[in-house]
Amino acid sequence: MLPRFRCLVPKNKKEALDMLKDEGNTRVLAGGTDLLVDIRKYTCCPETLIDITRIREFKRPFDRVSGILSPAATHAFASGSGEIKQDFPALALGCAQVGSPQIRNMATIGGNIANACPAADSVPPLLIYDTRLTIESQGEEREEALEGFLLSPYRSSLKRDELITAIKLKKLKGYRFGFKRLSIRAALSIGRLSVAWAVKERSGAYEDVKIAVGSCTPVAFRAREAEMFLKEKPVCGGAVKEAEEMITAGIREKTGERPTHAFKLPILRNILTEAL
């Protein structure tokens, strides 16, 4: 049995923001696939949960014209929707590999972002689409890039009374995309390494490359230095190897030497060689 708490179910955004302001020890409940496990293990003991999945403004999972995903959109939606597969294929690939069908049917993209788990599978794909978040609290609204929003494992810039209300992705034209994830077994287990990429080539050279890596560092990151370096470099040549070196050196710098590097870094290099 779960410890006791109240669960409020706001019908619209305003109600939810008022509740977040007025209530003391609250947590936002979306799919609940992480939160209820934490509550059960007593690693988190809220008095009140605010279930945001019935909020009227969040009902429509995706607006194609603006590229805005609802924070309550599930991973099943993001991996199965024809529109997402077409417009943001790396996101569809990433979300298809989260947990199991049962988890994907409940777990939301907003929850995956807000939980700020370093191994969140939707995050590297969202990073390559330069995702920006709209964050609201009672009477206030701000916008922040996902890249800066994630601070450290399970910590983000989200304040106690704030709610992610929109997830805006930027469409990339003329790119090829991919996502690869490494884990101990195929289903259910947490990702040990995840990479998303978008590559645009022009006459044998890289016009633009976007690479995001998850589960390797405290926070998933965009490999900006390597991306800049690859610009205008010929596709066939030593540039990719050099870029890989930059990325793995960057990881070592952020985390220090880790035992898992022995398998993670060579695999990361192989994935990048294949991708690029």
Binding site: L29, L36, P101, I103, L188
Partner: protein
């Protein structure tokens, strides 16, 4: 306390429940739906799988308040008047049931898959039951059962 109204196996259901109860607890304790098993309690084993609006979810990780206004189906929905559903028959024939603890959850995952895809490939069956653990059969017989049921 909250009042929830939902469809349970095709019939109207209502309950006054505490906010912190899971759908698993409410189904078992208030409605005597005993096919829904608690295994791990943290959304890994799949023994508590039920259909929420036709999609498989873990009842142990679903607060009962989330079922309000929804359609809930459990294994009890499959057999009618003591006659097994063809999918259940296939499980029996293939020897896909040993200790039986995972079976109701496995059936609901397989049922949801077959509702969506009449003739799933082996890969799709594998993916469809990937959120359900079975420690007896080694999955081969379960895969066979789902494949057989899809050809009926």
């Amino acid at each position: 306390m909250q009042k929830i109204c939902f469809q349970l196996n095709g019939e109207k259901a209502e309950a006054e429940i505490e906010d912190y109860l899971t759908l698993l607890e409410v189904l078992r304790d208030r409605f005597s739906i005993l096919s829904v098993k608690e295994g791990c309690g943290i959304g890994e084993c799949g023994a508590c799988t039920v259909l929420l609006n036709e999609r498989p979810v873990y009842a142990c990780l679903t607060l009962a308040v989330k079922a309000d206004g929804c359609d809930v189906k459990t294994t009890e929905y499959l057999s009618k008047d003591g006659t097994l559903h063809p999918l259940q028959e296939a499980f029996v024939k293939s020897g896909a049931v040993q200790c039986g603890y995972c079976t109701p959850g496995m059936l609901m995952s397989a049922y949801a898959l077959l509702q969506e895809e009449k003739t799933p490939t082996e890969e799709m069956i594998r993916e469809g039951i990937s959120g359900n653990l079975c420690r007896c059969t080694g999955y081969i017989q379960i895969m066979e059962a789902v494949k057989d049921a899809s050809q009926i």
